[in-house]
Amino acid sequence: MHRGNKDDAGSSGEVVSHSVSEAPEEVLAYWTPERMAEAVPRDIRLPDPKEGESQAEGK
């Protein structure tokens, strides 16, 4: 049985829920056009085995 904590109060065994601490107004104030423009894409790129093979052949 999962015990909830500060970060995941209200969570069950398989699900984790997190209450946001910032007020909505604070979040809106944080995101200036400049910060949005500079935000970095967060993506997952795993190593491609084929690219590894081609690099090895090139050596």
């Binding site: 944080y30 967060r42 993506d43 790129r45």
Partner: protein, 333 residues
């Protein structure tokens, strides 16, 4: 005589040019040459190092038109009189096929889309860094739910994001339907504690804006879970990494195939060249009618990951029972 002299001069130029190149590469070893040698080498090497080689602009301008030479040849033949029939060659009709120039053909694996009200960009902070992803408003009891990737709400494993906001219908820096800050973030424990990519799905419950609920303003997609594998999907997102700019909506369409590189991920992939920033964008299973297809369909996954630096397949997690529990928990908050 003249031609021999020219050839000799050319060879000299070539050899000295090579020497100059070696000297230049050798650096310190060339310092033993006298100043006179250096001067001669520089002058002699000029034609060889010229980028146009023999055909300088001056020589091209001075070149004689070929038809002048042809006219001279005709005149010579006229002086000799007509040739005999035996001297004229004959044979079977022969031809040699031409070839096309080699070109690099790249086929775009995406389609540019007009903005869709319920699909948008997501901005958030993780470990002090500001990030951007994509998301979609989905049907929920609280009428305030956004579906995105797990890695767009939580480090996986690790902390949840801060400053999380959803901008539906985003286009070229504008927020035509407002900005919707999150009240709470939700993900599977397998993601928040284990970073298990099979559960790379997250949900955000957003605050009301101007007293209104998100779903009442932009609508909300239906969702479905435990669907058959191999369906045809249309995915949407705001790719921001090159060559995209993240300013407009993009889609990919294709039949889902299993991840053969890491089949244990249980995910499916469609042909797609969207880049970073599209993470968390919705996948819609194609329905039987136009109204039930594309962005009007039921959401069944999100943009999750790709392989390599030039990925041509976008993979999404299989939405099974665990993801359904996360959704069900979040929609009640």
């Amino acid at each position: 005589m003249t031609s021999k002299k020219t050839l000799a001069g050319s060879l000299l130029s070539l050899s000295t040019g090579l020497l100059l190149a070696v000297s230049a590469i050798g650096g310190a070893t060339a310092s033993s040459a006298t100043s006179q040698d250096s001067t001669q080498l520089q002058v002699a090497s000029t034609p060889v190092s010229s980028p146009q080689g023999y055909w300088t602009p001056e020589r091209m301008r001075a070149a004689v038109p070929g038809d002048v030479l042809a006219a001279k040849a005709v005149a010579r033949q006229d002086n000799k009189g007509p040739s005999s029939d035996a001297a004229v060659e004959s044979g079977a009709l022969t031809r040699f096929a031409g070839t096309a120039a080699q070109t690099t053909v790249t086929t775009a694996l995406h389609t540019n889309e007009a903005p869709v009200k319920h699909i948008g960009k997501v901005f958030f902070t993780l470990a002090g860094n500001n990030y951007v992803c994509s998301g979609n408003s989905v049907a929920a009891r609280n009428k305030s739910l956004v579906a995105t990737a797990g890695h767009c709400v939580n480090e996986g494993p690790g902390a949840f994001a801060t400053n999380w906001v959803f901008i539906p219908g985003y286009v070229n820096g504008t927020a035509p339907y407002g900005q919707w800050p999150a009240r709470s973030l939700h993900a599977a424990r397998n993601w928040t504690s284990g970073g298990d990519i099979r559960y790379d799905t997250g949900f955000a419950v957003v605050a009301r804006v101007g007293g209104k609920y998100l779903a009442d303003v932009v609508g909300a997609s239906g969702v479905e879970f435990n669907q058959p594998r191999g369906l045809t999907y249309k995915s949407f997102g705001y790719p921001a990494a090159a060559p995209f700019t993240g300013q407009t909506l993009v889609s990919c369409t294709g039949a889902a195939r299993d991840d053969t590189i890491n089949p244990q991920f249980n995910s499916q992939g469609i042909s797609c060249d969207m880049t970073g920033g599209s993470s968390g964008g919705p996948w819609f299973a194609q329905g039987d009618t136009d109204a039930a297809s594309g962005a009007g369909g039921f959401q069944n996954s999100v943009n999750s990951y790709g392989y390599g630096t030039n990925s041509t397949t976008m993979f999404g997690p299989f939405w099974g029972s665990t993801t359904m529990k996360v959704y069900d928990s979040a929609q009640r908050k």
